[in-house]
């Protein structure tokens, strides 16, 4: 608002009144995907300047984690990007496992891969739904939600929760899949490619859709690097970078999949990349399901994984010689978690999600730092919207696929 006052002051004595048209979009607005606030400077409908203002959903997750033990921290990760919480769980668990030097059983790895890819499909479906709705196609929205509902029901069957799963545990997963779940997943995997074709027939060749997405918010390869984009947004600009391929985690090294890339780096390319990713995710789930039968009956949690309730401090009582009193039993604090630091990054549906954790030996992280894709992507909005119109701004927010829970933490 200070900007407005400044302009008013400058132009007070003059005859002409050329104040720019300011528009405050959000934090309550149907298409800012949560509580993003955009302060726009307009010229007609063209955007001269766009200031994204975040922080309306700040919950202090990084600080909260310092007061919770490692297994409890997983619950916080659900609340980051609440659309794909399974993927966040995996990121946290991977970092903690590195710290604890745990080896995860193969079956747990496969199950984790399945739930992460399910999360990717969920997230991309929600993205497609809202992106299409923002551009005005209402029907796609409900079709996508219909199929997302199917996946959420499977999640409910797996772990009892639909949105905030906390299904992944440090050292594996909470419980094994039931046979019904595997059957249902097979049904889903068979049916889903047809559904993707449905969405594509609705919008892919629609002239209005093409007009609204082609050559909108073009990001060149260099710009994409400079803006720090990751995930589908980076791949849309023609960079073949995927954490699942470059630093494989869980079972990604043993499954086959392709990394789609775009050419022009416009909104349409990013849309295409995500549509292909939906198919690839579907394929990955299918491969993992096939492999699950090989590991029938194996444990899904590492034997030496920490308990859910980790002790705050463990005192080791040892006999120590004392010069005057003879032998004395002196308590000494024992390390629960090795002192050190660990870093893990995964390909979350929205981009690269990294977790960096520092341990001081207690059962709680001394510091937990999360690098979330949405936060970085929001900073790209002001660059990408320059010279575009309000209607495009809505499409750009959609194409970046931001979640404010992810950005504000």
């Amino acid at each position: 608002m200070s900007l407005v006052l400044e302009v008013n002051k400058k132009q007070k004595g003059k005859d002409s009144w050329e104040e720019p048209f300011y528009l405050n979009m959000g934090p309550q607005h149907p298409s800012t995907h949560g509580v993003l606030r955009l302060f726009l400077e307009l010229e007609g409908e063209t955007i001269v300047n766009c200031d994204p203002i975040i922080g309306y959903l700040h919950r202090g997750i990084e600080k909260l984690a310092e007061n919770l033990n490692y297994n409890q921290t997983i619950v916080l990760s659900d609340r980051l990007d609440y659309i794909s919480s399974a993927a966040n769980n995996v990121a946290f668990a991977l970092a903690f496992e590195k710290l604890l030097r745990l080896e995860v059983p193969r079956r747990a790895k496969l199950i984790r891969t399945i739930v992460s890819e399910m999360a990717r499909i969920c997230s991309h479906l929600l993205w497609l739904a809202t992106h299409a709705l923002d551009i005005g196609a209402m029907t796609v929205f409900l079709y996508c939600f219909r199929d997302r509902e199917w996946l959420l029901n499977i999640y409910e069957r797996i772990c009892g929760a639909r949105l905030t799963h906390s299904y992944v545990r440090v050292g594996g997963v909470r419980r094994d899949f039931e046979p019904e779940v595997i059957e249902e997943l097979y049904r889903f995997v068979e049916e889903f490619p047809k559904r993707i074709t449905d969405y594509e027939t609705l919008i892919d060749t629609n002239r209005i859709w093409l007009k609204r997405t082609k050559n909108i918010a073009v990001v060149s390869t260099e710009e994409a690097f400079n803006l720090g984009l990751t995930g589908p947004c980076l791949r849309g600009s023609g960079v073949s970078y995927d954490v699942r391929k470059f630093r494989p985690y869980d079972a990604y090294s043993e499954v086959e999949f392709e990394v789609p890339i775009g050419q022009n780096g416009d909104t349409y390319d990013r849309y295409r990349v995500r549509m292909i990713e939906l198919r690839q995710s579907n394929w990955i789930i299918k491969q993992c399901l096939d492999r699950l039968s090989e590991t029938e009956g194996e444990a899904v949690l590492a034997e030496n994984s920490p308990d859910l309730l980790m002790p705050e401090k463990v005192r080791e009582v040892s006999a120590q010689p004392h010069p005057k009193l003879g032998v004395m039993f002196k308590p000494k604090e024992k390390e629960i978690v090795p002192v050190g630091e660990a870093f893990a990054s995964i390909e979350s549906p929205k981009g690269e999600l990294s977790v960096y954790v520092v341990s001081d030996g207690s059962s709680r992280p001394w510091r937990l730092r999360i690098r979330t894709p949405s936060f970085v992507h929001i900073s790209a909005i002001s660059h990408m919207t320059k010279g575009h119109m309000i209607a495009d701004l809505v499409a750009i927010i959609g194409t970046l696929d931001i979640v404010l829970g992810d950005s504000d933490r």
Binding site: E45, G136, M138, L142, R212, I390
Partner: protein
Amino acid sequence: MEDLWSNLFWFLAGTVILLIVSLLHVAYLTYAERKIIARMQQRLGPNRVGPRGLLQPIADMLKLLTKEDIIPAQVDRPVFYIAPFISLVCAGTGIALVPLWENFVISNINVGLLFILALSSLSAYGVILSGWASNSRYAFLGGLRASAQVISYEIAMSLALLSVVLMAGSLNLGDIVRAQINSPFKVYLIPQLIGFFVFIVSAVAECNRTPFDLPEAETELVAGYFVEYSGMRFALFYLAEYFGMLVMSALAVTCFLGGWAGPFEVPYVPFFWFVVKVYALLFFYIWIRATLPRYRYDQLMDLGWKVLIPLGLINLFLTALIKLIF
């Protein structure tokens, strides 16, 4: 003297009946839209109030009537009060000029077509004024978009209708239908295919319906020009939109689809074919709403000025040429 009184009585009775019937149509058009779109989107739609949700429009109306009429402090009051009425009256009056069947038209004037065009242009004032008077930035942008839309589409629409006038040789809507019935194809749809296309696209834009619902673009401008309205004033804008659809469909039926005429006569129901055609067009409106995304403001003006107006001009020229030769 006796004659005058009975004439006046029938005129008033006809007006009241038409008003009630068209208001009911508008109310149930909202219901039909919700039901049809729900079916297209694999939902159920309204099904709680009354059997199959049939009383939903009435419940909605009662709810909106009893809501508080909020008037924000900063608005330009007189204009803010008047704007919804301008919209509704201008959108709704047109129905009085459309011949529903052979000898039934409330107001049979010789410049009927011109009058309807004038009214539909005026109804845009409701939108623009409400956008201005609301003193809200979203509403202002909505009003701005509406005015841009009006100047891009009114011309194309007039050009399309001008060709019809050229063929029929009259501005009276009844005469236009009679001229169609006597023409070789029975309807003007076939010789005026381009004109019909231009007219339908412009009519969708005229009613602010998807894909041209820019003034109220929900995901961009929240609700556009009526963002500050509540209660019954808000409902008036809605009524105006659906009334606009009804009038535009009736006009399309009259000018291009042969009005009340049909392949065979239906006994005792002289308006049968007229109503069937209007319903078909209304279904078309609803159908495209479920299918298409929204145009951008400048793309819409491109479409208006670079495609529809040239098409309308070519069509007018061809019509005049053919008329000259034969």
